[in-house]
């Protein structure tokens, strides 16, 4: 395919993905907004004042970046996992497989679609948070960069999950039993400096901790871990997972007999 044809194919796929999650907005955009509003009300407004300050900021200000990141992670992941698995299940993935579209375009199309939803929900959650606090962004470029990279990383993760999944249960196992616990334990609601040394070291094995902390650093200018190191780790994860997903796609894993 020529570069123009590739651009048309990629745009077609991205647009289709965006149309999909906006068509079913009561399932995709509304629930995370309501859930996050609840977090802001309960943890930020009601319990937060009793907790006091966290790393020198009000508890509400401390949790806003973490909650935005949590919304981005779960929505990027679940969008690609459920959309690509639905394509497999309904066999509409064959539409793409019989076309001359290169596999990397198929992968990029779904990943960009997942990022669009993750970032869209992130933007909605940010708007909701404005009802509860004033947001000051210390490092805007870093904040934007890390949220885009995180959305990309978890979209690729969702794609791999969908390729490996044989039934709908398989696309809910990872978000429920892996992503949610890692996100909750990834410093969304607390600073790891509150933990005993042993659990601080265990927390450092959690990749989501790095994303939440870099994002929080972008907002508040504070972080539990070195920002440069975290950014490098996110980049490395993206490259490795993209290569794995593309290799699986080339091999027809889960989609070709």
């Amino acid at each position: 395919m020529s570069p123009v044809q590739i651009a048309i194919a990629l745009w077609t796929l991205v647009l289709k993905e965006i149309k999909r999650f906006t068509r079913i907005w009561p399932q995709t955009l509304l629930p995370p907004s309501i859930t996050m509003a609840m977090y802001f009300i309960i943890f930020g407004s009601l319990i937060g004042p009793r907790i006091g300050e966290m790393d020198g900021f009000s508890y509400m200000d401390f949790i806003v970046p973490g909650l935005i990141m949590m919304a981005v992670i779960t929505n990027s992941y679940s969008n690609v996992a459920s959309s690509f698995f639905s394509n497999k299940f309904q066999r509409s993935v064959e539409e793409m497989m019989v076309s001359p579209m290169p596999n990397w375009v198929i992968l990029a199309g779904f990943v960009l679609g997942g990022m669009a939803r993750g970032l869209g929900v992130g933007a909605i959650v940010t708007l909701v948070s404005l009802f509860f606090t004033r947001i000051n962004v210390a490092h805007p470029l870093l904040t934007l960069g890390v949220v885009v990279l995180t959305a990309a990383l978890f979209s690729i993760g969702g794609f791999i999950n969908a390729l490996l999944a044989d039934k709908f249960d398989d696309v809910s196992i990872v978000p429920t039993f892996v992503l949610t616990p890692l996100t909750y334990l990834g410093g969304v609601f607390y600073s790891i400096s509150l933990l005993p040394t042993f659990w601080q070291n265990v927390s450092l094995l959690n990749p989501i901790l790095y994303m939440v902390n870099v994002f929080r650093h972008g907002f508040l200018g504070i972080s539990d871990i070195p920002v440069g190191w975290a950014l490098t780790a996110i980049f490395a994860f993206i490259i490795v997972l993209f290569a794995i997903a593309l290799w699986m796609l080339e091999r027809g894993k889960g989609i070709r007999s």
């Binding site: 395919m1 289709k16 509409s92 064959e94 539409e95």
Partner: protein, 320 residues
């Protein structure tokens, strides 16, 4: 001489469970042909087409589409290929127009070209009024036509139809036949068809391959195949019912119902002799027709022969 639209050499497919679906088949389909690939369930038809469309990974062999080896440049080969699969494979929740436009996009067709093409195809296939509705609201026949429209969006030179009229009512089937004939005749699209309706193959196709147990057991023209037919069965409707099948010297006659007989006529025998013998016995024939379409008789006999040979081989294996 022009390259064949499809050329298959030594195509082999062994599935992960050890099932030998294709055993080194060779097949050529010439440009402009209307070709039938026939075979019983599990014979290897869909596996063959699946390899050609990249939905199934081959174990060995070579496949070329208009001279382009799929192992060398599958993407370029795919431009020539349109596929209408056996089962519905579109997102049922999408709009009809979105499904065909997305397919054009996957082939890199700009929207300004895709829109008029979609309009033309949806109108030709009677779906234009349904374009803004969700695909799941379409009837079974409409869904099949939607898949044909989708497959034709990028103007493929080779169209593969895997049981395109399964579950479609007779009237609609005839109109779909007419449409397929038209694109084959007027646009020169090569068509490969698999079907369970052998009447469909007999009516539409010029050449045919019969596949059984992963092997091509016959590859010839429909005309030649029919010329080889040794027997035909005719149903005779009688003016009055008969108690038992009458005896007609040299012919096999069965009583189907009270007022209907089935007569098996071998090559070289004359139907006039049957009428004469029945007339002598005071039996009056009102009308006559073929019991089944002729290709079906041929097909059943070939497949049964093949299975018979295989059963014998299986027995030998067991006795070892």
């Amino acid at each position: 001489m022009a390259e064949p639209a499809l050329s298959i050499r030594g195509l082999t497919k062994v599935y992960g469970n050890g099932f030998h679906a294709l055993k080194g088949i060779d097949l050529d389909v010439e440009q402009g042909d209307f070709f039938a690939l026939l075979g019983p369930n599990g014979a290897g038809k869909s596996t063959t087409l699946g390899v050609v469309c990249s939905l199934v990974q081959k174990t060995a062999g070579r496949v070329s589409i208009f001279g382009i080896d799929i192992d060398r440049d599958f993407a370029r080969a795919k431009y020539h290929l349109g596929v209408v699969p056996q089962e519905f494979n579109f997102n049922q929740f999408e709009k009809v127009i979105d499904i065909v436009l997305a397919q054009a996009g996957y082939y890199g067709m700009p929207r300004r070209e895709a829109l008029p093409r979609a309009e033309q195809l949806l109108k030709d296939l009677g779906l234009w009024d349904k374009r803004s509705g969700s695909a799941r609201m379409l009837s079974g026949g409409m869904k099949r036509r939607l898949m044909i429209a989708r497959a034709l969006m990028h103007r493929p030179k080779l169209l593969i139809l895997d049981e395109p009229t399964a579950g479609v009512d007779i009237e609609l089937r005839r109109s779909m036949w007419e449409y397929m004939r038209r694109i084959n005749r007027e646009e020169g699209t090569t068509i490969i068809l698999t079907t369970h309706y052998l009447e469909e193959a007999e009516s539409l196709c010029r050449n045919v391959a019969i596949i059984n147990r992963g092997e091509i057991v016959r590859n010839t023209s429909v005309r030649e195949l029919l010329a080889e037919l040794d027997t035909e069965t005719f149903l005779l409707d009688l003016a009055r019912p008969v108690e038992q099948a009458p005896h007609v010297e040299g012919f096999e006659v069965h009583r189907v119902e009270g007022a209907q007989l089935a007569v098996v006529v071998h090559r070289g025998q004359r139907l006039n002799d049957v009428f004469a013998a029945l007339g002598e016995q005071g039996i009056e024939v009102v009308s006559m027709r073929n019991r089944a379409n002729r290709l079906e008789e041929m097909f059943v006999s070939m497949v049964e022969q093949g299975n018979g040979v295989q059963r014998e081989l299986d027995t030998v294996e067991v006795n070892k």
